[in-house]
Symmetry: C2
Subunit: 378 residues, 2 copies
């Protein structure tokens, strides 16, 4: 089976990730719940993972790294924890429903005002548009680092400067780039980075989180047991405890920690380069096939390893089905939880077939996928 | 090392649980995100786990089983998703901070009124007290199935009848009993059961959930990508999607599914019986030691396998430390995130040392723990 659905989840995890999860399941107690050796081992595992993530994303304080179940939870915490009734928020057409739906809910229930920067037909944003949308009640800019449909990367540094100039909170959705593309919140000036562990970071499902800049105040979404300050009726105010009620997924986080070691041992730039080459090889192979329409901008300096396309007038689900059934190639059709992006590209009705590559794919995978597209397009 | 902190998390997982997680990490795509074989395998894994959990807890619809990161998240969803501004809620002194803090927050922020049924000096609730506390705006009763400090079980059927009679939602926190004590929501008449996967169910950390009775309406805590109905700006209304935004921890849930197979193959009554024998053996061994004060009611027909005690006038943390350092026995001291229970028992200042047993403990573990308590009490 050729797995080209890595933008949904990376199927192939490094062996040391699986080993780390097994080791954790055999040895970890419950972090912060007791002073016994097993509980302490869990606490150390979590702390080490926080430190590695802080280092990876340029977060100045390891205790400002928060673990969540996934990126969606991180985004819900970031959005609901910072945006108040009556605030105005600027976001973009590139966003996933994990950003859009929390925002639409705030619009409906809390009188929050929303503006969206439009994407052009290649899926790019006009950076000037952000500044034009700012109003007196604008509180935050929330922006994807890369579209999960086109793979186009957004220049976060420029948007960050706009946010800084106007005193806005800048929230970045790094779901598609964490582990694939270097992202340093100190360098770009981000306030909150939301990431998932099971995609580019090559970690287990059930992991993800936020990196928070010191001084950014986020209200908790969930409250509950923390193992510390148990007699306080309110959630403790210190990070990470403030946003981490309940037992964390230490088993999964141990795997994520090993995954980051794997990524750092290779180097994220080298990973990005290899994935880009795989993507370009596929792109070059299919772009001139008659009947193939490709979305996104392939002239950008940097992209995540995604090629979304349609073939003739076929429905994307039918094509993805044929790829799976006849060629044993896994892709993802449909809407990709990115409704505004599909509207901008004019693919709302039939979706698109997304091919997404990882470190573990080979050029043979690419060649077979190109050949399959060629045959389907005939 | 002798691990007697199973009420915090079970350290020993059945081998097939670990095997299932490894298998999942090697083979699962992202459920509901695509129609390729790996994605479908993830969807099937989740559905099978839902069906097993529905069967275990007597939930009539597998699609009304919701997966969460842990029990705390499940309780936050249940509480915040059903209680509205101005409602009155009845809860108890037995509750964990995963129930108390969400309730206190609603009291502070949403004008929700709270009443608590008191525990007596043995940690038992007066069931008559529930009915006396009901007011015209009472919306729900939220009650622990068993205290995580004393191990006392609560007679849920009686409380459920009171709830039913007055049209109240009955929410059960089964964190300490799921997998250890039979619990059938059809038989007891529960509306929402919240459980965790990593304690009595012997599954991985990062798993837990809710079982919801058909007709009970819960508002989502998080919203976002669902892989279905992607063009709707609002979260889809059907369970389980309504409450499950973002990628689930399929790897952990595969392990939980295998854990339930393990439990069912032995029989939950047999597990309960063995754990009770281990607990009773420890209780009999320590109860007459001079200076040992035990909390909870050991005359109850059924208990979870917990013995909480103090020795002389020692601080519980000091005792737990000695047990860990000198005897290599893992226990949990302090407040156990159960502030009202400690207040009721008069152990607020020094906490208590909790010994909690699992299927994988042995009588030799018990004997060594008894001997350690005897020596410390000298």
């Amino acid at each position: 089976m050729i797995y080209l659905d890595n933008a949904a989840t990376t199927l192939h995890k490094p062996a040391q990730v699986i080993d780390a999860v097994v080791e954790a399941m055999n040895t970890l107690g419950n972090s912060d719940r007791g002073v016994n050796s097993r509980s302490l081992k869990a606490s150390r595992t979590l702390y080490e993972a926080r430190a590695k993530i802080a280092d990876l994303f340029g977060c100045l304080r390891a205790d400002h790294v928060i673990f969540t179940q996934n990126s969606t939870e991180a985004l819900n915490i970031a959005i609901n924890g910072t945006i108040l009734s009556g605030d105005h928020v600027i976001s973009t057409d590139l966003e996933h429903n994990s950003v859009l739906r929390p925002l639409y809910r705030l619009e409906t229930e809390k009188n929050v005002e929303l503006s969206f920067v439009s994407a052009d037909s290649k899926g790019n944003l006009s950076l000037e548009a952000f500044e034009k949308l700012i109003k007196s009640n604008t509180k935050a800019i929330i922006c994807n680092h890369a579209s999960n449909l086109t793979g186009n990367i957004v220049n976060l540094s420029k948007i960050s400067r706009i946010a800084r100039r106007h005193g806005l909170i800048f929230i970045v959705d790094a779901s598609q780039t964490a582990g694939c593309i270097p992202l340093n919140m100190k360098e770009i000036g981000g306030d909150i980075i939301c990431f998932t562990g099971h995609k580019g970071l090559m970690g287990p499902q059930g992991t993800g989180g936020l990196c928070i800049r010191e001084g950014i105040d986020i209200k908790p979404l969930k409250v509950g047991g923390t193992g510390v300050k148990s007699y306080s009726s309110m959630q403790p105010q210190d990070y990470p405890t403030r946003l981490e009620a309940g037992t964390l997924n230490s088993h999964g986080i141990a795997g994520l920690s090993a995954a980051i070691d794997f990524i750092q041992s290779i180097g994220i730039n080298f990973i990005s380069e290899r994935e880009t080459k795989l993507m370009n090889s596929f792109y070059e192979g299919v772009k001139d096939i008659t009947g193939v329409k490709i979305y996104g901008d392939f002239s950008l300096d940097q992209r995540v390893a995604i090629v979304a396309l349609n073939i003739n007038d076929y429905d994307s689900s039918a094509v993805s089905d044929i790829l799976s059934q006849k060629y044993n190639i896994s892709t993802r059709p449909g809407a990709h939880c990115a409704p505004r992006m599909h509207k901008a590209l004019g693919t709302e009705s039939r979706g698109a077939v997304r091919f997404s590559f990882s470190w573990f794919n080979t050029y043979e995978d690419v060649d077979r996928a190109v050949q399959a597209v060629r045959e389907i397009a005939l």
